[in-house]
C-alpha cells in the first residue's frame, strides 16, 4: 500500500538523518530526507487524482494495535478518503518543495542534518494526523507536529528569543490540547468509542441530550464540539490562543512556510471538517466556530497592516486567512473551507518562501523599512511573490477567471452571506473588512520591498555585510556617510537566490495561479458531493445560495480588494509620508494595534508572572514555611527537647534507626503470634 510508504518514509528519513547526524554529513542527510519526501509526494498525487475522477473508495489500512483498556480501544491505522487525499497532496507537495528550498536557504548552517531530520519528522507527524481513523491518533499527530514545531522554532537554540518562542508555542498549544483531550474523554463517555467513523455515525442521535460538566448540565454535542474546537483554536492560532504564531517566526523561514503557513496551522480546520457531522448537530458550537473565525480574520488583519517585519506581516496574514476557513466551516461551507486551505497552502507557502528569498538576498534583514527597489535585483523572487499576492488578495473577474484565492475566498464570503443567519451576516462583514485589509497589507509588503527607493543603508545587517565583504577602506569610507540617511544602497548588491530556492517558488506560483481555476469544480460546485463522498458534510443548498447572492455581494470582494490596492499604492508609492501621518492621526488606536492588541502584555501579567510568584509562595511559605516547620522539623524539635538520646539518634546514627525499627517489628509480630 502506497499510503504506508507515504507516511513512514519521512519517519525513516528523519531517523537516518537525525541519528546519522555528523557522521553522515550534510549531503547525505539532505538527499535522504528530500528524496523520501519527493517519493511521498509522487505517491500522493495519484491518490488525489483517483478521488478527483471518482475511481477511489475510502480505505483504512491497519498498522498496529495501540491501546485497549476496558471498553476503550484504539489502534494505529491509516485512513484515506477524499479529505485525507487533499491533505496528503498539500502536505507532501509543500514539504518536498520546502526540503528542496532549504538546500539553498540553509546552505551555510553548520547543523543541517538536524534541520532536515526535524523537517521530515514534522511531515511524518502531520501525515499521521491527517490519516487518523480515531481521535487519539489524531491527537498523536497533533502533539507530534507540536513537538516538531517546537524543535524547529528553537532550531537556532543559541538565540534566547528563539528559545522563548519555542516554549511559548508548545505551552500555548498545550492549552488548546487540554481542551482537545477533555473533548476526547467526553466523546468516549458519550459514544463509548473514539473511532471517528463510529462517532460521526452516532452523533446525530445524540442531538438534544445533555451531559454533566463541571457541576452543570449542558447540551452534549455543544460541550463536546466546543472542547474539541479549543484544540483547533490552539493549533490554528485563533483569537485568544494565537499569541504563539507571530513569535514562531523566530524559526528559519522554510519552517514558517511549511509549518506555520501551509500545513500544521491548518490542522484545526481539517479537524473541524473531519468532524463536521458532529459539529452539524450543535448550532451553538457552529456559531461559536464562525464567530471566533470571523473575529480572528478581522483582528489579525488589522495587526498585519501595521507590522514592519516581513515575516510577521505574513504570519498575521496566515492567522487571518485561517479565520476565513473557520467561519466558512462555522456557516456549514466545509467544502469552501477545505478549498481555501488547499489554495492558501500554495500561495502562503509561496509568500513565505519568497520572503525567505528576500531575507536571503538582504543578508538576514527582515525589517521592510530597510528594503525598497528590490524588483530589479531579484526579479524572479519579485514575479513569484507578485503571483502570490495576486492570489491572496483574490484578483479575478466574477464568473470568469481568477487567481487561486479569488475562487476560494470569494466562495467563503458568499457562503457566509448565503447562509442567511445573523452569524453568517457578522462573518460576511468581518470577511469583507478583512479582505480590504488583506489587499492593503499584501500590496504594502510588495511596494515596501520591491518598489520605491532603496533604503538599505539604515540596516545594521546590510552595514555588517558590506563591511565584511568589502575590505577596501576607501570604499567603506564612502558608505559611512549614508548611515545617518537611511536612503541608499550602502554599496550592497543583493543577489538572486540559487535555483534550488527559485524552483520551489516557481512551482508554487503555478499553484497560486492555477489551483483555484483547475480545482474549484471539484471542491465547491454542484455535484461536489461526488468528490467528498461523505468525507465531510456537504450542503448542496449552500452552493445554490452562493450562486443566488445579490450582485453587489458577488462584486464586493473585488471592490474592497481594489480599494486596498489603491490605498497601498497611494501610501507607499505615491505619497510616502501619508502612512506616518495616518498613524499619527490615529494615535492610541494605532499603538494598540501595532502592539498586537496588547495580548502579550496581558498574558504576561495574567499568567506568567503569577505562575512564578505562586510557585515561590507555595515553595517557601507552603512547603518550607508551613509543612516542614510544623511537620518533621517540629517533630524533631519536640524529640530533641524530649530526650538526649533522641538527640544522639538525630545526629546520625542511622544504623540504630534500622535496628530499632526491625526489633520493634519482630517484637510486634511475636506478640501477635504468641497472643
Amino acid at each position: 500500500m502506497s499510503i504506508l510508504l507515504i507516511v513512514f518514509l519521512p519517519l525513516l528519513a528523519a531517523i537516518i538523518a537525525g541519528l546519522g547526524n555528523r557522521q553522515l554529513g550534510n549531503l547525505a542527510a539532505r538527499s535522504v530526507t528530500t528524496g523520501a519526501l519527493i517519493i511521498a509526494c509522487a505517491l500522493s498525487w495519484p491518490i488525489f487524482i483517483q478521488f478527483l475522477n471518482g475511481s477511489a473508495e475510502a480505505t483504512v489500512v491497519p498498522v498496529l494495535k495501540w491501546v485497549q483498556s476496558g471498553t476503550m480501544s484504539f489502534d494505529w491505522a491509516l485512513r484515506v478518503d477524499a479529505l485525507t487525499a487533499v491533505m496528503l497532496v498539500v502536505v507532501t507537495t509543500v514539504s518536498a518543495l520546502v526540503h528542496l528550498y532549504s538546500w539553498g536557504y540553509m546552505d551555510e548552517d553548520p547543523d543541517q542534518p538536524r534541520f532536515f531530520a526535524y523537517l521530515s519528522l514534522f511531515t511524518f507527524a502531520m501525515l499521521m494526523l491527517v490519516t487518523a481513523d480515531n481521535l487519539v491518533q489524531m491527537f498523536f499527530g497533533w502533539e507530534g507536529v507540536g513537538l516538531a514545531s517546537y524543535l524547529l522554532i528553537g532550531f537556532w537554540f543559541r538565540k534566547p528569543s528563539a528559545n522563548a518562542a519555542a516554549i511559548k508555542a508548545f505551552v500555548v498549544n498545550r492549552v488548546g490540547d487540554l481542551g482537545f483531550m477533555l473533548g476526547i474523554f467526553g466523546t468516549f463517555l458519550v459514544f463509548g468509542t473514539v473511532s471517528i467513523p463510529e462517532i460521526l455515525a452516532a452523533a446525530p442521535g445524540m442531538a438534544g441530550s445533555t451531559i454533566g460538566f463541571l457541576g452543570y448540565r449542558f447540551d452534549t454535542m455543544t460541550v463536546l464540539c466546543i472542547l474539541l474546537f479549543i484544540g483547533a483554536m490552539g493549533k490554528s492560532a485563533q483569537l485568544g490562543l494565537h499569541t504563539w504564531l507571530p513569535d514562531a517566526m523566530e524559526g528559519p523561514t522554510p519552517v514558517s512556510a511549511l509549518i506555520h503557513a501551509a500545513t500544521m496551522v491548518t490542522a484545526g480546520v481539517f479537524m473541524v471538517c473531519r468532524l463536521s457531522p458532529m459539529f452539524e448537530t450543535s448550532e451553538t458550537a457552529m456559531a461559536f466556530v464562525a464567530v471566533i473565525g470571523a473575529a480572528t480574520c478581522f483582528f489579525a488583519a488589522t495587526i498585519g497592516c501595521t507590522q514592519w517585519d516581513i515575516k510577521r506581516v505574513i504570519a498575521y496574514s496566515t492567522c487571518s486567512q485561517l479565520g476565513y476557513m473557520f467561519f466558512a466551516a462555522g456557516v456549514g461551507a466545509y467544502g469552501a473551507a477545505m478549498f481555501h486551505l488547499f489554495t492558501h497552502a500554495f500561495f502562503k507557502a509561496l509568500l513565505f518562501l519568497g520572503a525567505g528569498s528576500v531575507i536571503h538576498a538582504m543578508h538576514h534583514e527582515q525589517d521592510m523599512r530597510f528594503y525598497g527597489n528590490l524588483r530589479k535585483h531579484i526579479p524572479i523572487t519579485f514575479w513569484t511573490m507578485t503571483a502570490g499576492t495576486l492570489a491572496i488578495t483574490g484578483v479575478g473577474i466574477a464568473g470568469f477567471v481568477g487567481f487561486a484565492g479569488f475562487y476560494s475566498k470569494d466562495a467563503i464570503i458568499e457562503a457566509a452571506f448565503g447562509a442567511g443567519t445573523s452569524v453568517g451576516q457578522f462573518a460576511f462583514w468581518m470577511g469583507i473588512f478583512a479582505a480590504l485589509m488583506t489587499s492593503f497589507y499584501s500590496w504594502r509588503l510588495v511596494f515596501l520591498t520591491f518598489f520605491g527607493e532603496a533604503r538599505w543603508a539604515g540596516s545594521e545587517h546590510i552595514q555588517h555585510a558590506v563591511h565584511h565583504e568589502h575590505e577596501d577602506p576607501s570604499e567603506e569610507a564612502g558608505h559611512d556617510n549614508h548611515v545617518e540617511n537611511p536612503v541608499g544602497t550602502a554599496g550592497y548588491h543583493p543577489h538572486e537566490s540559487p535555483w534550488v530556492m527559485l524552483l520551489p517558488l516557481v512551482v508554487l506560483s503555478l499553484g497560486a495561479v492555477f489551483a483555484g481555476f483547475v480545482f474549484h469544480h471539484s471542491f465547491i460546485s454542484e455535484g461536489t458531493g461526488e468528490f467528498w463522498r461523505g468525507a465531510l458534510v456537504f450542503h448542496e443548498h449552500l452552493i445554490d445560495a452562493m450562486h443566488e447572492v445579490p450582485t453587489w455581494v458577488k462584486w464586493s470582494p473585488f471592490t474592497v480588494m481594489a480599494i486596498g490596492f489603491v490605498i497601498a499604492w497611494y501610501g507607499y508609492i505615491r505619497n510616502t509620508s501619508f502612512p506616518a501621518a495616518a498613524a499619527e492621526q490615529l494615535g492610541p488606536i494605532y499603538t494598540f494595534v501595532y502592539r498586537k492588541w496588547m495580548f502579550d502584555e496581558l498574558y504576561h501579567y495574567l499568567f506568567v508572572v503569577p505562575a512564578f510568584w505562586f510557585g515561590r509562595l507555595f515553595w517557601k511559605q507552603g512547603d518550607v514555611g508551613l509543612i516542614d516547620r510544623f511537620g518533621p522539623n517540629g517533630a524533631a524539635w519536640v524529640v530533641a527537647r524530649g530526650s538526649t538520646y533522641a538527640q544522639k539518634v538525630q545526629s546520625g546514627y542511622l544504623y540504630s534507626y534500622a535496628l530499632v525499627m526491625l526489633l520493634g517489628l519482630v517484637g510486634a509480630i511475636s506478640w501477635v503470634i504468641a497472643g
Binding site: W66, Q68, M72, L147, Y150, I167, L178, L654
Partner: protein
C-alpha cells in the same frame, strides 16, 4: 515452570551476592553486583515469558508454613509481574550509574543496593500480610543507608526526614494489619482481598493504610521528604527511589486499600481527588521556580504520582490501567531523568541549573536522550508518558470532571517547567567554560540510557505488551469495586422529546 521456585531464586541471588559484596574489594564488588543484577534481569525475562496471560490469577506460587499465622508465601499476578520487571530492569542501570561515582566503601554500597533489590521484589511477590510488611518496611533501611552514608552534604537531615515521615505511617499500618488478621483469621493476601470487612471498620483500616501509602506515594502534603531525599541521594539512589520505591505506595493502594476496603475507598475518593488536584497544581508551580535540577524533577514526580492516585480512585478499568501505566512509565522516565542529571553532575559536581547551558553543542547525544525523556515526562503521545496519563484522566473524567480539568492542567504546567529546564540546560549559549568542555556520553552511559529510551518508546507505541498481563487482574478489581463505585457527575441524559425528533429527522431524510 515445573515447580522451579523462580521467585525465591530471584530473591536469593541478589541477597547472596549482596552479602558477598560486603567482604570484597571495590572492583570485584562492582563486577559481582552487575552480574547478580543481570542474572535477576534474565530471570525476570524468563518470568515474563512464562507468565500465562489469561491463566490463573496467581502464578509461580510458593508456600511454606513457617509457624501459625506467618508463612513464607510468594506468588504474582500481572500487576506484580510488571512492577518486578521494572525493578529488575532498573537495577543493572543503577549499578552502572554508580560504577565510577562511588569510590568509598564500595562493597557496602553494592551490598545495600543488592539487599534493596531483594526487598523490592519481595514486596511485589509477597502473599503473606506480614511477609509483605517486612519487605515493605525493611526496604527503607538500605535506602536510608544509601542516602545517609553516600549522600550529599545535608544527607543526615534528609534521611532523618525520610525516616520520620515513613515511621508514622508504618506504625498505623501495622496496627491495622494486626486487627485484620485477628478478624479475618488469615494472613493470606489473596484471601483477604476477597474478604468483606464491615464497612464501619473499613473506614479506620483504610485510614491506617492510607497513612502509610500516602507518605510512600508521596501525596501532597506529606511529600516534603521527597525533594530532600532526592537532592541528597547519590544518582543511583535517586533512580531507584523514584523508579521503584515510589511505586510501593501505588502498589499498596491497588493491592490493599481498593480490593480490601472498597466501600471506604469510594467514601474517601473525594479526599484523594482533592489532594491530587492540590498536588498537581501546587507542586507543578513549585517545580517551575526551582534552581536545583534534582529538586525540580522530584517535585515533578509528586505531580505525576497525583495522576496515579486519581486513576486509582476513578474505580474503572481505564483509570486503574492508566495509573499502572503511569507508575511504569514514571519509573522509567524519572529514573532516566535522574540519570541524566547524574551524568552531568559527575562531570561538573553541581546540580545548579544555571551552571549549565548550551549542552546541545558539546553533548549532542546527551541532548537527544534528555529531550526524549523530557518529552516522555510531559506525556507526548508516542512515548510511555502519554498512555498512562491519557487513560488515567479518561478514567477520572467518567467520575469527576472537575478533578479531570484541574489535574489536566498538569499537561500545561508540566510542559512549562520541563521545557524551561531543558532550555536552561541544553539550549542557549555556552556561558560557562567548564560546562562547555564536558565530554559527550561515553559507552557506559550509552549502555544505560539507550535501553531506557527504547523502553520508553516501546511502552508508548505498543503498550499492549504491558496492558495484556494485567488486564484480567484489573478487570477483577473493577468488578470488586463495582458494587460501591460512584455515579459520575458527567453522566449522559438522553433528550426527552427524542421520538419526535427522530420522526422529524426521518421526515427530512425522506425529502
Amino acid at each position: 515452570m515445573g515447580g522451579f521456585p523462580i521467585l525465591s531464586v530471584m530473591l536469593l541471588v541478589p541477597l547472596a551476592a549482596g552479602l558477598a559484596c560486603l567482604f570484597m574489594d571495590a572492583k570485584s564488588a562492582r563486577m559481582l553486583a552487575l552480574f547478580a543484577t543481570l542474572v535477576d534481569l534474565a530471570l525476570g525475562a524468563v518470568l515474563w515469558a512464562n507468565f500465562d496471560i489469561g491463566g490463573a490469577q496467581w502464578q509461580f506460587t510458593e508456600r511454606a508454613e513457617l509457624f501459625p499465622g506467618f508463612s513464607y508465601a510468594l506468588g504474582i499476578d500481572g500487576i506484580a509481574l510488571l512492577l518486578i520487571m521494572l525493578s529488575v530492569f532498573l537495577m543493572p542501570i543503577c549499578i552502572g550509574a554508580s560504577w565510577r561515582s562511588i569510590d568509598k566503601r564500595v562493597g557496602e554500597y553494592m551490598g545495600a543496593f543488592l539487599l534493596m533489590e531483594t526487598l523490592m521484589i519481595g514486596v511485589f511477590a509477597a502473599q503473606d500480610l506480614f511477609l509483605f510488611y517486612i519487605f515493605f518496611e525493611a526496604g527503607l533501611i538500605p535506602m536510608y543507608l544509601i542516602i545517609g552514608v553516600w549522600g550529599g552534604a545535608d544527607r543526615i537531615y534528609a534521611s532523618y526526614k525520610f525516616f520520620l515521615y515513613t515511621l508514622l505511617g508504618s506504625v498505623l499500618m501495622l496496627i491495622a494489619m494486626l486487627w485484620m488478621v485477628n478478624t479475618a483469621g488469615t494472613t493470606d493476601i489473596p484471601t483477604l482481598m476477597a474478604y468483606d470487612f464491615d464497612p464501619q471498620a473499613q473506614t479506620w483500616l483504610w485510614l491506617a493504610f492510607f497513612a502509610s501509602f500516602a507518605v510512600k506515594m508521596p501525596m501532597w502534603p506529606v511529600h516534603t521528604w521527597l525533594p530532600d531525599a532526592h537532592v541528597q541521594a547519590p544518582t543511583a539512589g535517586s533512580v531507584i527511589l523514584a523508579g521503584v520505591l515510589l511505586k510501593m505506595g501505588g502498589y499498596g493502594f491497588i493491592r490493599f486499600s481498593l480490593p480490601m476496603f472498597p466501600e471506604a475507598s469510594v467514601q474517601f475518593g473525594p479526599l484523594i481527588w482533592g489532594l491530587s488536584m492540590a498536588a498537581v497544581v501546587l507542586t507543578s508551580l513549585i517545580a517551575l521556580v526551582q534552581h536545583d535540577m534534582k529538586k525540580l524533577i522530584a517535585y515533578s514526580s509528586v505531580a505525576h504520582m497525583a495522576i496515579v492516585t486519581i486513576g486509582l480512585f476513578a474505580f474503572n478499568a481505564q483509570g486503574l490501567e492508566g495509573s499502572m501505566m503511569v507508575m511504569l512509565s514514571h519509573g522509567l522516565v524519572s529514573g532516566a531523568l535522574f540519570l541524566c542529571v547524574g551524568i552531568i553532575y559527575d562531570r561538573l559536581h553541581t546540580r545548579e541549573i544555571d551552571r549549565y547551558g548550551g549542552l546541545s553543542i558539546n553533548m549532542p547525544r546527551y541532548a537527544l536522550f534528555f529531550m526524549l525523556f523530557t518529552m516522555a515526562s510531559v506525556g507526548l503521545p508516542g512515548t510511555s508518558g502519554f498512555v498512562g496519563e491519557f487513560l488515567s484522566l479518561a478514567g477520572i473524567y467518567q467520575v469527576s470532571t472537575w478533578t479531570t480539568l484541574v489535574c489536566a492542567t498538569g499537561i500545561i504546567l508540566g510542559a512549562a517547567y520541563m521545557l524551561y529546564l531543558y532550555r536552561r540546560v541544553a539550549f542557549g549559549d555556552q556561558k560557562n567554560a567548564d560546562a562547555a568542555a564536558m565530554a559527550d556520553l561515553d559507552a557506559r552511559e550509552l549502555l544505560m540510557v539507550v535501553p531506557l529510551g527504547l523502553a520508553v518508546l516501546w511502552m508508548g507505541v505498543y503498550p499492549e505488551s504491558f496492558l495484556a498481563p494485567m488486564r484480567a487482574d484489573i478487570a477483577a478489581l473493577e468488578a470488586r469495586l463495582a458494587r460501591a463505585a460512584p455515579e459520575g457527575d458527567s453522566r449522559l441524559a438522553m433528550a426527552k422529546e427524542k421520538p419526535a425528533q427522530e420522526e422529524h429527522a426521518a421526515h427530512e431524510g425522506a425529502h
